[in-house]
């Protein structure tokens, strides 16, 4: 019986890691390339969930079949990507100023977004339950595991592969790394930094939105969910090293696994355990596990 339980803890850890990675990866990409610590990133996550709930409800009310809801989730993520580009556009005048200004600006935005969510969707939790129930559960050695959670894990991995492929095997990705390395030089060599920044913000926001949309069928979208996710995303990118996508990936896995096992073995210190890992990493390797410049 013990092996089954271990498999479940492992899967739970992966599940948690998957959607947190989607949030953390966007945060770390934007930080690594634009050098902006986007405090409104949690709002992309919560907006992703709410917009997905909205579109899904719209689909269902118009009699579309349940599988079409996957489309709704993806559409929500795309919309959040566009929203991210909009945020980047409003940030443009601040790039020449000190980093604190961008920090405060995104901090202010996060509050505005939180209030907007309450204004648009009210205080009731929103969800898209059909998908979760529709996919049912798989039987793993006599125990049930929700298929939807498997799907989330799968998308988490695919997203990592996509981000890796994008930054190492596409022209835009390579240029982005060049800009992260030396903005002035890249600009002098003819790279359109401004439009590149908009694209990067689109990608970062897209993945955060995807994280929110993807988790929605399994949870309830509630006000304040974004700030919680942002908190963990910070832990992840600090463990992994600021600006490193590989770091965000490994950091998510560490946080996910520590949480899953921690809840089983040390339920009393569920949150404390994750932060203990953070402290240990900071003492042993202050720059984080993969902390360098963006690579």
């Amino acid at each position: 019986m013990i092996p089954t339980t271990l498999i479940f803890y492992f899967l739970n850890g992966l599940f948690y890691a998957s959607y947190l990675f989607l949030v953390a990866s966007g945060l770390t990409i934007i930080l690594g390339i634009l050098n902006v610590l986007n405090l409104a990133h949690g709002s992309f996550y919560s907006f992703g969930a709410y917009v997905a709930a909205f579109i899904a409800t719209l689909f269902l009310n118009n009699g579309l079949p349940t599988p079409s809801l996957f489309m709704a989730l993806f559409m929500a993520a795309l919309l959040i990507g566009l929203m991210g580009s909009g945020v980047e556009f409003s940030l443009k005048p601040l790039y020449k100023r000190r980093q604190e200004y961008q920090l405060l600006f995104t901090f202010a935005l996060s509050f505005i977004f939180e209030d907007l969510i309450k204004l648009i969707w009210g205080f009731n939790p929103w969800t898209c339950p059909n998908l979760f129930a529709y996919m049912g559960a798989v039987n793993i050695l006599g125990q049930f595991y929700p298929s939807y959670d498997m799907f989330v894990i799968f998308i988490g991995f695919v997203s990592y592969l996509f981000i890796w492929f994008f930054f190492y095997h596409t022209r835009t990705g390579n240029l982005a790394r060049a800009v992260a390395f030396d903005k002035e030089m890249s600009s002098a060599l003819g790279v359109n930094v401004s439009s590149l920044y908009t694209k990067i913000f689109f990608i970062g926001a897209f993945f955060a939105g995807l994280g929110g949309a993807l988790i929605l069928p399994a949870i309830n979208a509630i006000p304040g969910m974004g700030s919680d996710a942002l908190g963990f995303a910070f832990v992840i990118i600090v463990i992994g090293g600021l600006g490193s996508v590989k770091g965000a990936f490994v950091g998510s896995l560490i946080v996910g696994m520590v949480r899953a096992v921690g809840i089983a073995l040390f339920p009393e210190i569920e949150l404390g355990l994750i932060f203990t890992v953070l402290v240990i990493v900071l003492i042993l390797k202050p720059q984080g596990l993969f902390g360098k410049r963006f690579e």
Partner: protein
């Protein structure tokens, strides 16, 4: 240019005279009308006043003409607002009803909305603001445990009648404010939730052995679990705790807690998760086949909107403790207040009233009765001190029925309902069936005795 100016001044003078004259007339009218306490639309007849309090009308303080301000201090923001918005709805509905029936001694009720805010400091600040700047006559609302503890001494200091709804922590009246004067609580508290569940288990499932808990990681969750375990082990000595999970408030992903709980193979799981936490938990638990593997599940449903318990999230056969009010009991035929409250609430807000909405009714009713009682006895409009003294030890009504208010610790008491979840075709959400009521004497510690000491003193 100069002519219009002239006309302007003249018009102004005309208006000014008119305003002053109206003011004088209205002022005189109010002055003449109010001192005798008879001409305003008063529910208590003036005759009673003169009979019971000779001389009272001569020296008595007149009924103020301005409205009674009731501050609704509760969560208007944050995830708790989902549930607490019903307090505001109920308050509006009730204020309109009382006002249309002539108010409290002719004074209309005016509501002041105030958010608890994100932390204890803001809550205390906003409470002070209500009392000192808005000059409210009564503060009521759900504050959550930590805020409730911080506001208690401020309430006694500012001497403003204050009635907590929910805010169920035992520490308020057992430790922080053991001899309350201005503070009341219009809701069964967490000892009653935990102990009533334990008593219910003893009655219906006396052979349970392995118990696990999933509770929010803060005072409410910790205290409830401690008391539940203490009570259950007293009642059924064979019970052992096999696992306890402590998800932080606002957790959205409970998958690891679910796996760990299942792994411990409990006979019964007790939880005080609430609001969207319990809904998210149950949804994920269904995905894991949790309720097929755990024979008994008890949840204190104190803090939720019932429409959140949808049928796909909540299977049948789970036990829910509904603190002190469930909208399906008592039936409208035997309790007219319920007959007005529930349909009217649904008509206006498209939801059924939750526990806090029911508590709000009893809180305002208790205040109204106290004001009218003192006035009937003395012929004077009561001071805050008189109001709270009249309230302590009295009783009031609410949609849940009659409620008593303990003199010693100002705790409102009513029987604690426990029911079993059922999918009924009449409601789009899960309802509670087989309701059973645990009497307050059985599940509340006597005043002056700490809950845990009381449980430990049981002789079984």
């Amino acid at each position: 240019m100069s002519e219009p100016k002239k006309v302007g001044r003249r018009t102004f003078l005309n208006y000014a005279t008119a305003i002053v004259a109206t003011g004088v007339i209205v002022g005189a009218a109010t002055y003449l009308a109010t001192p005798k306490g008879a001409t305003t639309t008063v529910t208590v007849p003036a005759a009673t006043t003169t009979v019971t309090a000779p001389g009272g009308t001569a020296t008595g303080k007149p009924i103020p003409s301005e409205p009674i301000k009731i501050g609704i201090l509760t969560f208007f923001s944050g995830s708790n607002a989902v549930v607490d918005v019903q307090i505001w709805w109920a308050a509006q509905m009730l204020a309109e009803k009382i006002n249309s029936e002539g108010g409290i001694l002719g004074r209309k009720i005016e509501l002041v909305q105030m958010d608890v805010g994100p932390n204890t400091d803001t809550c205390v600040q906003n409470y002070r603001k209500l009392v000192l700047e808005n000059h409210v006559d009564l503060v009521t609302g759900d504050l959550a445990s930590s805020n409730g503890l911080a506001v208690a001494p401020i309430c006694e200091e500012l001497k403003c009648p204050t009635i907590y709804l929910s805010t169920t922590t035992t520490h308020i009246f057992e430790d922080v404010d053991p001899k309350p004067k201005y503070l009341f609580r219009a809701g069964n508290y967490n000892t009653m939730e935990a102990v009533s569940c334990a008593l219910h288990i003893k009655r219906h499932h006396p052979d349970v052995k392995r118990v696990a808990g999933i509770n929010p990681d803060y005072a409410y969750g910790r205290d409830s679990w401690q008391m539940f375990v203490a009570a259950l082990q007293k009642l059924l000595p064979q019970v052992e705790v096999v696992y306890e999970a402590w998800p932080p408030l606002g957790t959205t992903d409970f998958t690891s807690h679910i796996t760990a709980t299942l792994n411990a193979k409990p006979d019964v799981v007790f939880s005080v998760l609430y609001a969207s936490d319990i809904v998210a938990f149950m949804k994920q638990a269904v995905g894991y086949g949790f309720f097929k593997q755990v024979p008994l599940f008890y949840n204190a449903l104190g803090y939720i909107s019932f429409n959140m318990l949808t049928k796909d999230v909540c299977p049948e056969g789970l036990y829910f403790q509904a603190r002190d009010y469930y909208f399906l009991w008592p039936p409208a035929e035997i309790w007219p207040i319920q007959g007005w409250f529930v349909p009217e609430f649904y008509k206006r807000w498209k939801q059924y009233p939750n526990i806090d909405a029911g508590q709000l009714y009893s809180a305002i009713d208790a205040y109204k009765r106290a004001v009218e009682k003192v006035y009937a006895l003395t012929g004077e409009y009561p001071t805050n001190e008189q109001i709270v003294e009249a309230m302590a030890g009295s009783s009031c009504v609410g949609p849940m029925g009659y409620r008593t208010i303990r003199r010693e610790d100002h705790q409102f008491l009513s029987p604690a309902p426990i029911g079993k979840s059922k999918h009924s075709p009449d409601y789009p959400f899960v309802i509670l069936d087989e309701l059973e009521f645990i009497q307050p004497e059985e599940c509340a510690a006597p005043p002056g005795v700490k809950s845990l000491d009381w449980i430990k003193s049981w002789k079984i």
